[in-house]
């Protein structure tokens, strides 16, 4: 036995660790490649055609779809709407999530119950939440405040949609922030108190730098979710009220592929959307990595 073990090649610790990591990553990576990357790459040739989704034939049109897209006011409007939504969504979900987390991060029976209640909307599907809120806006909010449902007012519709999404996601952000807050060593605060720091200074000089990884997770995830927003818009306004008021990138793609029989054109929009998502995600994660603090 000793002799056999001795005959095995000896790897360095770093190489063995790398091999272990690879073993863990491979299944997830394979799944991701199969379900996301390969279909995306397969879709690229369609974006160079005039395929209408139904016909078995389609003509090669080169980069015409991309050219048309870049010159389309509706496409740019959908990008603008998507970013508007993403900003509301990321900002308010994080502010609300962090605020609540700061209030209830200490363990107590009441805080534990509050966490469960605040997290609960996240368990509900976005589609269900959208239908419930559509009803609530119309039959509760509107008569209570004597104003129309925001979903029916062009200038407020996107805010209304964002409010539904924030209601659902802020509990999720809260959990991430609570985990991060609980990981900040108390000694730092004690030392700061001895030095005469006030609460505001402690928050901005200790808490914020220490929970940057949580910001990174929440902002990156919500950015991706926000830029892909589809279901809540579809269920509440379907892109309206009016022409393209709340049309998002995903809806633009969906409408063109399925509603307008322009699958090639819609696929080109999907390719552009993926590139935008990739670029933004890269920038955001790089930004947060640069701000990271080693605890």
């Amino acid at each position: 036995m000793q002799a056999r073990r001795a005959s095995l090649p000896r790897f360095s610790y770093a190489r063995r660790r790398g091999f272990t990591y690879a073993c863990f990553v491979t299944p997830a990576l394979a799944l991701y490649l199969l379900t996301v990357v390969v279909p995306f790459l397969q879709g690229i040739p369609y974006s160079l055609t005039s395929w209408n989704l139904v016909s078995s034939q389609s003509a090669f049109v080169g980069l015409k779809n991309y050219q048309s897209l870049l010159g389309s006011a509706v496409f740019w409007k959908s990008i603008g709407n998507t970013f508007q939504f993403a900003v509301y969504y990321i900002l308010f979900s994080n502010l609300l999530g962090l605020g609540i987390a700061l209030l209830i991060c200490r363990s107590s029976r009441l805080n534990n119950l509050s966490r469960t209640l605040i997290f609960m909307p996240y368990v509900v599907s976005m589609l269900t939440a959208a239908f419930v809120w559509k009803y609530l806006f119309n039959t509760v909010y509107s008569p209570l405040f004597g104003v129309p449902s925001p979903l029916g007012v062009q200038s407020q519709a996107m805010l209304g949609i964002a409010a539904i999404s924030v209601w659902r996601t802020s509990g999720y952000c809260m959990l991430i922030y609570i985990a991060a807050l609980q990981g900040v060593p108390q000694e730092y605060y004690e030392a700061a108190s001895v030095e005469g720091a006030n609460a505001r200074q402690k928050f901005f000089r200790i808490t914020v730098p220490m929970i940057v990884p949580a910001f990174s997770v929440n902002v990156s995830l919500l950015l991706a979710w926000g830029l892909k927003v589809f279901d809540v818009v579809m269920a509440t306004t379907n892109g309206g009220p009016g022409r393209n008021t709340t049309l998002t990138m995903s809806m633009f793609i969906y409408n063109n592929i399925f509603g307008n029989s322009k699958a090639g054109y819609g696929q080109a929009a999907a390719v552009l959307m993926t590139l935008i998502l990739l670029a933004l995600s890269y920038v955001v994660s790089k930004f947060f990595r640069s701000k990271g603090v080693d605890a």
């Binding site: 989704l53 139904v54 006011a73 119309n138 029916g152 309206g240 009016g242 022409r243 029989s261 322009k262």
Partner: protein, 419 residues
Amino acid sequence: MKKLISLVLALCVLLGAASLAMAQEEPVTLTILHYMGNEVKLNAFNAIVEGYRALHPNVTFDSQALSQNEYITQLRTRVGAGDAPDIMIGQPAQYTDIIQAGYVMDLTGNPLVDKLNLTAADIGDCSWEGKVYALPLDFKTYGVIYNKAIFEKYGLSEPGTQDELDALCKTLADNGVDPWIRNYSNVTYPDIEVRAILWPLLMENGKLDAFEKLMSGEAKFTDYPEFAKALELWGRRMAYGRMDDMSNDTTMARQAMAAGQAAMIYDGTWAFAQIQGFNPDQRYGMFAVPRDDGKPNQYCVQLDQIFMVNGQSAHVDQAMDFMAYLLSPDVAGQWSAATNGPSVVPGVTVDMPEVIHVAMQAKENNNIAHAGNFTAQLSGEYLNNWRAVLQGFAADRTLTVEALTAEMQAAFDEINASK
């Protein structure tokens, strides 16, 4: 020898009969995709399907009801994926890509179509490029459905002109009654409100190719003063609004109407069974949206439940057999009785509520503007944009008719430019 021959012949007949019986009883699943989603229609259709199954136990149905909004996308997705249903609901002009791909059976000259004895306009509504592609079960009209009790309480009668309608709305509003309940969150409703004036005017002026020309870019919206007039009168009707006009969905609006929360709703014959179902004690009447030129207006008419058969289906015969069953007078009558859908099937005699009776009489007297008379109707991307722009007009009451016309033209121009 004779005995032997007789025996062999008898055996052949028996075997033949047995194989025929086996072939007849071969299990078949018919897939049907439709948007008859409201409970009344869904229950009535399911009862008909069950009736057919009782006669043909070997046939099972995969009948899927979708909302009208998601229907077109679902149908296209399934056809694109090679999973086209055997029977699909829809007016052929809205599904030209599916027809062109060969998935819709050409029914021109089919005895089942001939048996329906349809009018030329009905045939037009079932056709595309001169060929018949669909079989209709009933038709629909849209109009103002009003609460008779409220009208009686304030001594009101059906208005014949726009001025009379304005005065009626004022009387109601002065007495604290909401004249209208609306559901403009559903983009179909702004569209059918505009049609109420637009279609009769276009037909009266012989502009049957208006939509064809607008889609091809051959004509502009400003070429049709009828469009501006339809918007202007719609704007006058919208002067009396409620806070929930833009946020009610279809069911919410109908429930509110049934509860007597408003005096009038602009809706179609397809809605009546549901409205009445919410409150059977309420009494309703219906009138066509009035015009402002002193002439009586007509009702807009379209075929309603209208079915296309998949020409590439492995079960074409069975699908056509089901359609023959559905369009038999007894079964069509069963449908009409349950849904209040005015039938196009000859021989159907069902007692209808007054509202539906009004619609049926209008069609009998040809006091209608029938969709089938247009050379083409708005479809696909044009229809989606048309509806969205009109919804914008309802949402933003500061928009002028001229601004809306310009926006509509810009939308159509953009579609044409991308082609």
